[in-house]
Symmetry: C2
């Protein structure tokens, strides 16, 4: 089954990519941008079809590889291909 994993920086962690986007948007004439944070979206297609077990596997993947849990948080959702 397909899972979407969203990995975002924890609040308070400096986000230079987000700051760069914010500045670039201002440079393009977009005003009213109060904040930009950039994170990652990882789409997993797993052979496991049981939803709970797939989420559990994805959680272990996040803890071991996909997210740096010191500075990042993650959220796992079934399906939702973008």
């Amino acid at each position: 089954m397909k899972l979407a994993v969203y990995v975002t920086l924890k609040p308070g962690v400096l986000d230079p990519q987000g700051a760069a986007i914010s500045q670039a948007l201002a440079g393009l004439g977009f005003d009213g941008v109060q904040g930009v944070r950039q994170g990652k979206l990882i789409e997993l297609d797993l052979a496991e079809e049981d939803r709970d077990r797939a989420v559990e596997t994805a959680t272990r993947m996040c803890e071991k590889l996909l997210a740096n849990t010191v500075i990042e948080t993650y959220r796992i959702e079934p399906a939702e291909p973008a």
Copy 2:
């Protein structure tokens, strides 16, 4: 208001980051990984409080800066901080 912008590679576009994650997961002993695609999650905080106008502004941001529409697609959703 806060918006989440999901930017993903179009189907068929080579995704070396996704392939690297897939290989790394296999190396860690995770089997049954049929596919991994990596995209971006951009959280915008706009001064605009009208939902339709905020989405319209975010759409222009995507077309101009946030997504490379030749190889990427984007999806905009209100709120949902990860």
